[in-house]
Symmetry: D2
Subunit: 381 residues, 4 copies
């Protein structure tokens, strides 16, 4: 008689309900993870709204299928190991070890995998809680459940003891912020001025990265006063309310805050296409725009290749996902700076699995920053 | 009684005529250059057509004024030196030395100059043959003349003896191709597949750079069969006729030629905005587009920040001018490879100053690649 | 009748005495700086001991001459300006402005200056307080004086209002830590493990850089317990006493602290050659050693190109001075992190000019970290 | 009854003899390669002389064991495939396909493999023809045989049709030349002056890389006139005979050939430690030394951390092996430049397997550049 475990299943857009699945044994190389926390990502909100076209223009462009157990920002403890399974440092994993698993599984064999490209460019990429849905056994392919099944080949990152779950759960979105380092490859400097355009959860992770990697003046732009206030707590020195200032005024204010030149870097994390061109215009001549928020196709924009890109020498870096190599450094960075930034405040809400539907609705409201689901109700904050 | 020298003066759009100016003595730090050749650049063609808005969106955005002696792609011999004047290697220059002068003079004192940014980002940039017109003495600020006046502070690059004038005259446009190296900073590779979109003079210089710096498969796109044929002579392995293939077909052909993935790099040198979005679409996931041709504002385009940039992880590098540091390496590269590429064929026409008007018209016709003006009629090819 | 100002003159090794000089007027482009503080650098200690061979193996190798007004780590307020003089951001400077001047003046005309190399590689480099001695008028070429004379062409960096003098005085040594960023160019990561070998003033500046640019585990090695204690206050997680552990033990402890691999980066700031080879041996395979402390020739060492460099894939970066481009970012980094590190504790002693001899002796004793001289006795700590 | 195949077995130092092994069937994921050519590498010569300590100072330091089938520079045609096996571009391989296999097999699971480090840093690296000896079935782990057994997980690179075997066999040593690109990461330039210190096979591969990636003036140093002559044919403009010039004279000549400054880059490929310090001294201030030849421990040298590294701002890059990501670009680079360099002349001798002993002796004599073994006697040159 097998044990049954609860999972929050998205049966169709807008509908989440608890469902029970048998707890599987791990095949060789696989791991059963007892979930501590699983974040709600912007992509999950899109899926909840039925916006299911992902990775447009890539070899693994896809339409997400229901039913689905979402959840790819995960932290938990290992319940069972299928034989020899190593963490990212090459050490054997055992039951009880606390880990963050990679959000994706790459094939290791396509040109992208073999050429040292970021693993999320894999031509046959599979994503937990996205392409890996719960139709097929062993079903538990997302973190919104009591247990999760991690396939052989999944990269597994040990969590430092000092890093609390509510910070460790941010590891995956922190690994999406690699555009910041990539921008630095183009400009040999530090202490640069940085605009974070949109300080929702992904924007806040970018702000954390910029702050902890030694950026200079930080300028946050958002519609919500609550988010701007949090950005200030994390080091943003200039706060610009997108509800009160139009595009031209935002650009003017950024220039004003940067000695008239424009920002050295703009991290566009708004999630909407309308901020792309203003980003190009608030960056300085020779500056860099990281486009990290436009994960879903929400239509085209009009821009000017001459004045916005060429003459102005602007660099634009599109960032479509997280790198496998930055999970471990991301956790290391967070654990070394627990005393310097209020990192445990980024998770504003923690709900039990049975309230998954509420959690999704909450995650789309103004008062929420990062909302996480937790299997164990006794740990609610 | 002062000597008088001829110059081709652009009096207004579409009108060039010879005019005489007194040959000045050089002030301290200045140089009088006896011109050998001066190229006709794409910008000059725009100015000839009355399209005079330059550097849109930068601190030195400007409207070019007439009358003007154009010519910023120059090579000549020093006629007189104003005291101690050093070449780029720190050696004293003397009458008779053959040099290529930098096309621009930067102030050396603004934030861009002081922060190690490329010199053409200078907030007070002055350009020979553009912002420096011939209204003010000593007038001879462009290369379409028998002699040219080079202001104190102009960088001066000695031409290797083995490098013929008709190749040395390409040094300045070759120094505009630094987007290729900049793209390499983002991708640790070589022998990559490269599309050159538009193989006019600037595109050909990019093709030369890519070929000589060890790119792999080279794909040339152009409207003109004659240009594609020249591209083939310089190493392009795939030739795509933009007159016969629409945008979608071009993208499909590039994919086909690159194992289905798209090109690692696209160098957009077309000079028109319409090629920008197709460039984004013919590059592979994670690839780089260098936007080096949109020097003049010819209107906006519609693009998709999600599918064209973010999800696809595309990097875009806007390149608005040449770097001072690459003149010398550019000449060194050319002289080391005279036996490997038919570099002396890039200048297809050489006309004397008195035919400047014809030269400008010729430069806009299909049969011309690089057209140069020469003061000395006995050297015509 | 001209005003006379005091300066501490090093007349010969081991002897400092006050001397008066007339206060000059600034020539066009020059600035008179009223000194707030001037640090005592490791090089100054060498000069005090008569070890005067500098920049061995470079075009500007030299023997320092006495008498000398030392002091190249400077902060002060402008007393007089010779006409139009701009700060590093291109803004006009006026009397009363607080600045840090660059420690060196480059010629702007040699190959190094013209090729975008760091300014301290200039073939005709002049250094305040070193090559520029006080034999020649206007004499005041070092910061250990009431006023300092800054030659035309000296780069001048405005100090942010919030940055106290006792932190601003560290700008120059902070600009020497650019080896850290250079090492990052070779390894696309952050949160890496870093050994700082020697945590005297230069080592502490490297520690500050590593901490504020998001390094991970920091390991400090020093002979002095007081220095190790300060390193701990700045974020070092492992402290190794070089008096108690021999070279082999230090290497073993670094491995232990880094999962058995060795450190990702070693910043060798000891100032003695004996730490160079142990640095190569405590770095991991593929790691980077920054050699930033061996400014004076103190003899050769024996090393193994096979096992220490080649097979192990070690990168070594020699850093012989500070870059002009990092003064401004260094101040920006410091001012943004005043609340996160006890930066005002790095200056442990502040003495008036008349106690310069005592200050030099103190600076060589164990209890001192950075010792500074100050003209105004009322500001002593 | 199984087929038997010949292999040249190194039974002990100095002794090679033919031995027969059964031709195995490939396990799933494995490939049987019918050998075309297999090069004799410097390491093989060391093994032949009994110098068997490899990878000193790394986690996979080892003592090579006999008997051994050497041969890790391989090209051949696939004879049999164990099911689904993909090439480096993700395409299924079939019998008859011509490939170059990677020389090493990495574990894919240690920290180095998981952190995006070069694959030869793998903690559990296995090398064909080195650590993989022929004691264990299926024995055929080196290329000096009629057939070779390639383990599952070995990276396999398809050879372009136009690339002849005698050039394709150089792919592996060409993949060792990645120090050149790594050096470029530190210095944003091209057309730089490059010394190749030692133009044996590895030095010649570096010369090819430098030439084809657009280096400028190339300076070759060697003991052998024949090698210098070949270097000239590949583009070296200055040839220095190490038999006629001592270390100081070599340094002086390099300075002379580089405008007095020293070379921008020195590629030390001599295979002996004595050239390391002269390399540091013939590079310019701020230049880079790639140490790519000291693969075997031949003792220590004396160097000066102050003058040779720190003050002079020299960067040193140790390169201990080849990267997996550069096999494919290396072949692409070679095939695109068959018309520009006499690449087919680098293999000077081709001997059949039964003359393996002679081949090893020949490979150590002056007249040989690259010597290869070939199973099929009808193809001898």
């Amino acid at each position: 008689m097998s044990t049954l475990v609860d999972a929050a299943v998205m049966r169709q857009p807008g509908t989440l309900e608890l469902q029970r699945f048998p707890l599987p044994d791990p095949e060789p190389g696989a791991v059963i993870l007892e979930m501590s926390m699983s974040g709600i990502c912007g992509t999950d909100k899109h899926t909840f709204r039925g916006e299911t076209r992902q990775y447009a223009g890539t070899p693994h462009e896809r339409q997400i299928q229901y039913p689905l157990i979402c959840g790819h920002e995960n932290v938990g403890r290992i319940a069972a190991v299928g034989g020899e399974v190593l963490d990212s440092a090459g050490r054997q994993l055992r039951a009880g070890d606390r880990i963050v698993p990679a959000a994706n599984v790459s094939c290791g064999r396509c040109w992208y995998c073999r050429s040292g490209q970021p693993y999320y460019m894999c031509e046959r990429l599979e994503d937990y809680g996205n392409s890996l849905n719960c139709v097929h056994a062993p079903h538990l392919f997302g973190g919104w459940a009591e247990y999760m099944y991690l396939l052989p080949g999944t990269q597994l990152f040990r969590v430092p003891d000092e890093l609390p779950d509510e910070v460790a759960v941010l590891t995956e979105p922190m690994a999406v912020t690699h555009g910041f380092e990539r921008a630095r490859r183009l400009n040999d400097t530090f202490a640069e001025s940085v605009v974070i355009f949109g300080v929702g959860p992904l924007g806040m992770c970018h702000l954390v990265k910029a702050r902890l990697l030694g950026a200079g003046h930080l300028i946050a732009i958002d519609r919500l006063p609550s988010r701007l206030a949090m950005a200030a707590d994390f080091g943003a020195g200039t706060l610009l309310a997108a509800t009160e200032l139009d595009s031209g005024e935002l650009i003017a204010r950024v220039r004003e805050a940067t000695g008239g030149r424009g920002a050295d870097m703009v991290l566009d994390c708004s999630g909407v296409p309308d901020t792309f061109v203003p980003s190009l215009r608030m960056v300085r001549v020779g500056g860099t725009v990281v486009e990290a928020g436009a994960f879903v196709d929400m239509g085209p924009v009009s821009m000017n290749p001459n004045a916005d890109i060429c003459t102005k020498n602007v660099s634009v870096l599109g960032i479509g996902g997280e790198t496998a190599e930055t999970y471990e450094p991301a956790m290391e960075l967070l654990v070394r700076n627990l005393d310097r930034l209020p990192l445990d405040r980024l998770v504003t809400h923690r709900l039990p699995l049975e309230q998954a539907q509420d959690a999704l609705e909450l995650a789309q409201r103004d008062e929420a920053m990062k909302v996480v689901l937790s299997a164990r109700s006794d740990q609610e904050r």
